[in-house]
């Protein structure tokens, strides 16, 4: 089995500009009116009047133990052995939406034809891109940089083999990662001042 790829997200560096979701839509030809494969939301923390808004960017996390893969009746969703990326065979998807219920991150989206599509870590382009593609390569090895990573102005999102992402992360984030079944390393909001305070 090859090394698992995943995402790294640091909320302290995210400014909520949506460059990640817009670039994702552009690369994969998604609906410009909707946040689909990658979503940016401002999550409110605290209680009035001590309220802060924290921008969070989220997509398919390519979970280590992908629940969408387990419930899909047709085996249309596959977690790849070679790089851990969760891909979709759109030619066999029946559009039952079962994966939508199983996903903790709201990653599956359904287009006009009713077929599921989601982030493929830019393994390929467009819906269905990634299925039956060769193993993911890093940029130095000729692979493409995921659009969200490439266009993140604050360097909040990174992608790569998990061991490399761990080297960049704080000890706290790595410990948290070891406890969770997701293939994402998330830095906790370390400084309240970096969140955007609510102004009445």
């Amino acid at each position: 089995m090859g090394e698992q790829w995943g995402f790294y997200f640091d909320s302290d560096k995210c400014i909520g500009c949506h460059a990640c979701s817009v670039s994702c839509k552009q690369r994969h030809g998604r609906d410009p009116e909707q946040d689909e494969w990658r979503t940016v939301k401002n999550v409110t923390t605290g209680e009035f009047p001590d309220v802060s808004s924290l921008p969070i960017s989220m997509s398919c996390m390519h979970c280590s133990d992908a629940p969408c893969e387990k419930v899909c009746p047709c085996n249309s969703i596959q977690k790849r052995e070679e790089d851990g990326i969760v891909v979709v065979d759109r030619d066999s998807c029946i559009g039952c939406h079962y994966c939508g219920w199983a996903c903790p991150y709201g990653a599956p989206t359904y287009d006009d034809g009713g077929i599921m599509s989601k982030c493929n870590l830019c393994l390929g382009e467009g819906p269905g891109g990634g299925y039956e593609m060769p193993p993911r390569e890093e940029q130095e090895g000729g692979g493409s940089q995921p659009a969200c990573v490439d266009n993140c102005v604050g360097g909040a999102i990174e992608a790569g083999p998990i061991s490399e992402l761990k080297d960049k992360a704080t000890t706290e984030a790595v410990e948290q990662f070891e406890q969770e079944p997701a293939n994402v390393i998330v830095e906790a909001n370390r400084e309240d001042t970096n969140a955007f305070p609510y102004e009445a």
Partner: protein, 345 residues
């Protein structure tokens, strides 16, 4: 200041067709069990009423699973024909949808066989409970295929099991009916860790109780009207229905209680169930499916058989309420379900 926020994901991934399918799957399994019980008693008592119930049980079970299967297909948003490739495509045995599809197919074949064996050939009857044969006869006449009914009669008599095989079909069929109802619950509760309302422990007994209760209601109401069923038998099955409804009420109460002790997803689900449309649905379901039928039964026991309350009309209304409650339960479970949020720290 609290140090976390909540990211609420999507919900409502399924439409009304899924609610209808879950309801029809439950009532089909329930009707099958009623037919199996009536067959067992009929063999021992020889009472004609049990034969009527048995035949209507198979027929209604078959009819509801056929319509249910179509609603299951109707909810799919992908290319329609792909679903028919299920023997090849549905290969993920960790998915209850794949397992359930085979349960539905196997159950449909068994219930169709049981219906044909009970209403064709040597078992043919002119009374309304022989409906399948009357329909085939009429279709054959209209389509000028006179030999069609003879063929089905011949096939029924040649394949009708006897002895040990008959017992195996009886026991296996009943087991399949229970599996059908339980699978419709497991389909939901397989993602119960994400959806607090779809509790893995409580949903299967709740669905079995609701499906069986609605199955009794449908089969006895239809048999009472179509075959002028003996009021003694209606009363006996009505009492069985009441006992099942009481069990269903206990499980439902336990399910609602789990929402008071769960996390943020459970709390939000409870909020939805205690306000606006959710509250209306919950009150409607509890009233129609549980309280009113039990109240009618209690009133019937108190006033005696001569009263208007004990009339067939009122009893049918009670059964109608049970069926409506069973549908509302599935509707509620689909449309008020909420996924767990992501906790952002």
């Amino acid at each position: 200041m609290t140090s976390f926020g909540l990211w609420w994901g999507g919900a409502g991934h399924w439409d009304v067709f899924v609610a209808i399918y879950l309801f029809l799957g439950g009532i089909s399994g329930g009707a099958f069990l009623v037919a199996a019980i009536a067959e067992w008693f009929g063999e021992r008592s020889g009472h004609e009423g049990y034969e009527f119930i048995t035949r209507w049980g198979w027929t209604l079970s078959f009819g509801t699973i056929v319509v249910g299967s179509w609603t299951l297909l109707a909810h799919l948003s992908g290319p329609f024909l792909r679903a028919f490739m299920f023997p090849v495509k549905f290969t993920n045995w960790t998915s209850w949808m794949a397992i359930g599809t085979w349960v539905v197919v196997t159950f449909s074949l068994v219930v169709m066989a049981r219906m044909i064996w009970a209403t064709f050939g040597a078992e043919a009857t002119d009374d309304p409970s022989g409906l399948p044969r009357h329909v085939v006869n009429k279709l054959g006449n209209n389509l000028f295929v006179d030999w069609g009914i003879d063929l089905v009669d011949w096939g029924a008599d040649r394949t009708r099991p006897t002895g040990v095989l008959k017992r195996l079909v009886q026991v296996g069929g009943a087991a399949l009916a229970v599996m059908l109802v339980i699978y419709t619950a497991l389909l939901l509760s397989a993602v119960g860790w994400m959806v607090p309302l779809w509790n893995g422990t409580l949903l299967p007994p709740l669905f079995v109780a609701s499906g069986f209760s609605a199955g009794i209601a449908m089969v006895i109401a239809v048999t009472a009207w179509q075959n002028d069923l003996d009021s003694h038998l209606v009363h006996r099955f009505g009492l069985l229905d009441d006992a099942v409804i009481l069990g269903e009420a206990v499980v439902l109460a336990a399910l609602l209680y789990t929402l008071t002790t769960g996390g943020y997803g459970a709390a939000r689900t409870l909020d939805g169930l205690t306000s606006g449309g959710g509250l209306l649905l919950l009150v409607g379901m509890i009233s129609a499916g549980l309280l009113l039928p039990l109240a009618i039964s209690a009133a019937q026991s108190l006033v005696g058989s001569g009263s208007v309350l004990a009339s067939r009309r009122v009893t049918t209304a009670k059964f109608g309420l049970v069926i409506a409650g069973s549908f509302l339960l599935r509707f509620l479970l689909i449309f008020t379900a909420v996924q767990q949020p992501i906790i952002v720290t």
